[in-house]
């Protein structure tokens, strides 16, 4: 069973790489049009030190931005989930904020806090990823059936006890669903800033330097490295979900 679980995605990955290689091969595309997987290996070999340091910079800033998004998103979600007035007040604001393309916010933030590169990157990662968390927590809390509350309230439980024993655990599946979306969004945010901002750091900056030096295989290698980091972080969230909200998964065969 676990063998199968590992083999199936590995085979899918291999098929994908082969198709990509074949596509470039048959069209006889040059490197600058589209690099093939076989071009990536030399790129990784040449720059592996850079990939490690830049990859780490991208990773930690994404994680910090994401943690910030979790804290703020959960707090906003709680406020909107418990108070109708706050929900009516904040919802349009949040939707509007979310509708603004973050690529347009990046230069503004870069100018606003010029030089504060780590801060700017974390800020964009946070701004792009807190929305789904806030919405899912608020929906989870506001759709709690009144009977759940009555069961504890009729015994004299305080609001906080009801939140801790019922509302919080009941919202966890929605929260983790949103967190999976937020993880990938946060990576997009981090890289937007890394690419745009001057004297940047992280994989985004490496991508940018590939562009300036016409090193196309390097650019593709960065994309694959980003995808890899995204997958790793995504499955960290899945592992956390299994620990804290595994009960929500239907029992399978």
């Amino acid at each position: 069973m676990s063998m199968r679980k590992l083999l199936v995605p590995l085979i899918a990955l291999l098929v994908f790489l082969l198709l990509w290689e074949a596509l470039v091969w048959f069209n006889d595309w040059p490197n600058y049009k589209m690099a093939s997987p076989s071009d990536l290996l030399p790129a990784y070999q040449r720059y592996w030190g850079l990939f490690l340091t830049m990859g780490w910079q991208t990773l930690w800033r994404t994680v910090v931005g994401l943690l910030l998004a979790v804290v703020v998103g959960v707090l906003l979600g709680m406020v909107m989930g418990f108070s109708r007035t706050m929900r009516d007040a904040l919802y349009p604001l949040l939707v509007g904020f979310n509708a603004v393309p973050k690529a347009t916010v990046v230069p503004i933030v870069a100018l606003l806090f010029v030089g504060a590169h780590d801060f700017n990157t974390i800020l964009i990662a946070f701004m792009i990823s807190f929305f789904p968390i806030a919405v899912s927590v608020s929906i989870g809390l506001s759709t709690l059936e009144p009977e759940y509350r009555d069961i504890l309230r009729s015994l004299g439980a305080s609001r906080f006890t009801i939140f801790r024993k019922i509302a919080l655990p009941k919202t966890l599946p929605e929260f983790f669903g949103a967190l999976k979306v937020a993880v990938t969004l946060a990576f997009i945010g981090t890289n937007l800033m890394e690419i745009v901002s001057p004297h940047g750091r992280g994989l985004g900056a490496l991508f940018d330097s590939g562009k300036t030096n016409s090193d196309y295989p390097l650019m593709f290698a960065v994309l694959i490295a980003l995808a890899f980091l995204g997958i790793v972080l995504y499955y960290v969230v899945v592992a956390l979900e299994n620990i804290f909200a595994g009960w929500a998964e239907r029992a399978q065969d």
Binding site: D150, I151, S154, L155, G156, A251
Partner: protein
């Protein structure tokens, strides 16, 4: 001694001079509802739901409340549980006015509302985490396990609610309502969503629970057969706004097995109740007509 409570409702309080009433066993009427009136405020003005509700249940008694749909029966359960206070009139438990929720009440609803992230045993233990108790963890678990065994859920203690059928979940929900040994058990259509056979199983289980646990029960139901099978008193409410329209006493010597349903006495009782429901619904239709006439 027994009448004392109907004279001075608050006399069970120690600072009032009525030594007889200090002993709970001497208090005859455990639940007492007097002339309760209540209206919900809606966008289109106040909506009266209760208009002169009277109800009293003796200690150890079991009262079923029937009435047309949406007549305010669930409001009644929230009043007894102390989850809301009526606009006027009073609700007493043991002669004390109910103004806040109290730990001596257990509730079960049509939706069993089990917590999906807990096992069945942990679900049943939930009230004991809220209610102050001197029981050790071990004693709590023993109490929960014995209740689960009584309703036929032995061996399911460590299952999740999602692994159980609807009837089994409802049994677990009954155990949770009773685990802290409440004085009052409030059942709001707990068998309404079950199929006919499962429902009859649960009726039998209710009788077994009643024989073993010393609670006083209020059952809200739409099923007249259920009401006379389980209760010793059936209260018929009028249509909204509800008042007490009719009270039927079910003879206590009636045998409580399913054959009871087919005796002449039961047929008489059912006919009476059906008649009362019809009157309640006609009254409701008239009220609706006059109020729509007034608004035109």
């Amino acid at each position: 001694m027994r009448d004392c409570i109907s004279l001075i409702p608050s006399c069970r309080k120690v600072d009032l001079l009525c030594p007889d009433c200090l002993a709970p066993a001497s208090v005859d009427k455990l639940i007492e509802i007097r002339d309760v009136r209540h209206a919900y405020s809606t966008a289109s003005g106040p909506l009266p739901v209760l208009a002169g509700l009277e109800l009293s249940v003796r200690e150890g008694g079991f009262t079923a409340v029937v009435g047309p749909s949406g007549c305010g029966k669930s409001t009644l359960t929230r009043l007894v549980a102390g989850l809301m206070i009526p606009d006027s009139g009073d609700v007493y438990l043991h002669g004390e006015r109910v103004t806040t929720p109290r730990a001596t009440v257990g509730m079960a609803f049509q939706n069993p509302v089990l917590l999906e992230w807990r096992t069945i045993l942990q679900n049943v233990l939930l009230p004991l985490e809220i209610v102050p108790t001197t029981l050790s963890q071990r004693a709590k678990e023993e109490r929960a396990r014995s209740l689960l065994a009584l309703v036929g859920l032995e061996g399911f203690e460590d299952k999740r609610p999602s692994e159980l059928s609807g009837g089994m979940r409802q049994r677990a929900s009954l155990c949770r309502a009773l685990v802290h040994q409440p004085e009052v058990l409030i059942l709001d259509e707990p068998f309404g969503a079950l199929d006919a056979f499962t429902r009859e199983d649960l009726w039998q289980i209710m009788h077994e629970l009643k024989a073993r646990e010393p609670f006083t029960g209020i059952l809200i139901t739409h099923d007249l057969r259920e009401s006379i099978f389980l209760a010793d008193q059936v209260v018929v409410l009028s249509g909204r706004p509800a008042r007490t329209q009719y009270v039927l006493d079910v003879p206590s010597e009636a045998p409580r097995d399913l054959d009871m349903m087919y005796t002449a006495e039961s047929a008489d009782m059912l006919a009476t109740l059906r008649d009362q429901i019809r009157i309640a619904r006609e009254g409701e239709a008239q009220v609706a007509q006059t109020s729509s006439g007034a608004s035109q």
